[in-house]
Symmetry: C2
Subunit: 222 residues, 2 copies
Amino acid sequence: MAQVTREPLADQAAELLLDRIRAGEWGLGEKLPGETTLAPQLGVGRSTLREAIRQLAGRGVLASRQGAGVFVTALDAPEDWDTVLRRAGIVAVIEARIAIETEAAALAAARRTPGDLRAIRRALAERAAHRSDIESHVDADTAFHRTIVAAAHNPVLLDLFDSFTPRLREAMIEMLRIRREFGDDADHDAHVEQADAIAARDEQAATAHSRAHLLTLREALA
Amino acid sequence: MAQVTREPLADQAAELLLDRIRAGEWGLGEKLPGETTLAPQLGVGRSTLREAIRQLAGRGVLASRQGAGVFVTALDAPEDWDTVLRRAGIVAVIEARIAIETEAAALAAARRTPGDLRAIRRALAERAAHRSDIESHVDADTAFHRTIVAAAHNPVLLDLFDSFTPRLREAMIEMLRIRREFGDDADHDAHVEQADAIAARDEQAATAHSRAHLLTLREALA
DNA sequence: GTAGCACGACTCCTCAGACAAGTAGACGAG
DNA sequence: CTCGTCTACTTGTCTGAGGAGTCGTGCTAC
């Protein structure tokens, strides 16, 4: 099945090179043939080959040093986190989120500043205001949970949370579209209690609420 | 402080473009000015600009369509995980490890197969055998903890654990080199208890042991 | 013999120009 | 209003040229 849009030669050349690197034609740290010999070998012009090399350099596979040559810096493109999460089952992703969010809740209870607390309260109010539209409800919900993770004052946890949300967003919207039960009072009250636990610096209550909420989410998504 | 090797113009142009994208000069999905107008604006030739664009395309920031233009596909380069962890403080990394490993311990207690258990026992024996040399002791220790995460049967958690270990390895070796206290009997007994808890399917004991061990590690590294 | 140096071959880096291929909007015919 | 055509503009590709850096070779001085 030929695509409607032909792939540019430079992209094809980049893929071709990556294949030959994966095949082990050049080992880690080895030098590729010079542009003047590699370009005719691939059947493209020098500038086209250079663009292909740049593309792979941007992906961290190649590195070129003027006067010396082009060298292999990685045997394969480091797998993108998005693709890892996309391939992984939704249950695995939510379990990972449980891991980082319960821990973040405990840290937030211990470290939250008055400013963090204000942000959490604001996000909670915003979440209560979006209880009709599915998409905006999901977004408001994740925004609320994000303020809690942010209150943990740990950049690694926050980055992890942010990398999970895109994958979970789709799944949650789809799930809510099927079963209409969302935004009910019980659900909202649970979030209020979560915020209160962090305000009261009650680590155990914060983790317990966080875990309970996410476990029901896992059951719903499974 | 000027580097020994000057950065190629194409790389500089790529960084310059990325800065302007980050600054919001062009929003998501918007079209950049044409190459013929952008190149003089950056003070480089058109081929050089094209290489810069290719580089950012390889990083997923830009995408070009022949005849149409160059478009922004991401407002920022997805930061490499290694660099994130390197910049983050060691305490933040160990806290993230606490998050995923305690959760993994609970899941492992629930899901471990006989094969998992054999691997855990084997890693535990291996760990006991390497109590003299610092580096091999650290490696054997992480290998043991990895078998537990693997027993959780969650690829996301395992990938996360693997991405943490390189950063922690350096810090742990350095720490142990300063304070000679490692590989003592109390430390080893704690690991035996951890393995036993997973064998007994005792989720609470597994998480408790995991957390206790990692908290002492955090104190040592802080 | 060995250390230091000059040189030359080779490499990547950058630019300019030319033409091909594709897109998207303007414009007029129906 | 709809549909084709036409045109201006865009990216894609190639070629040729010269600049700049690196690395190995062979010579020279000691």
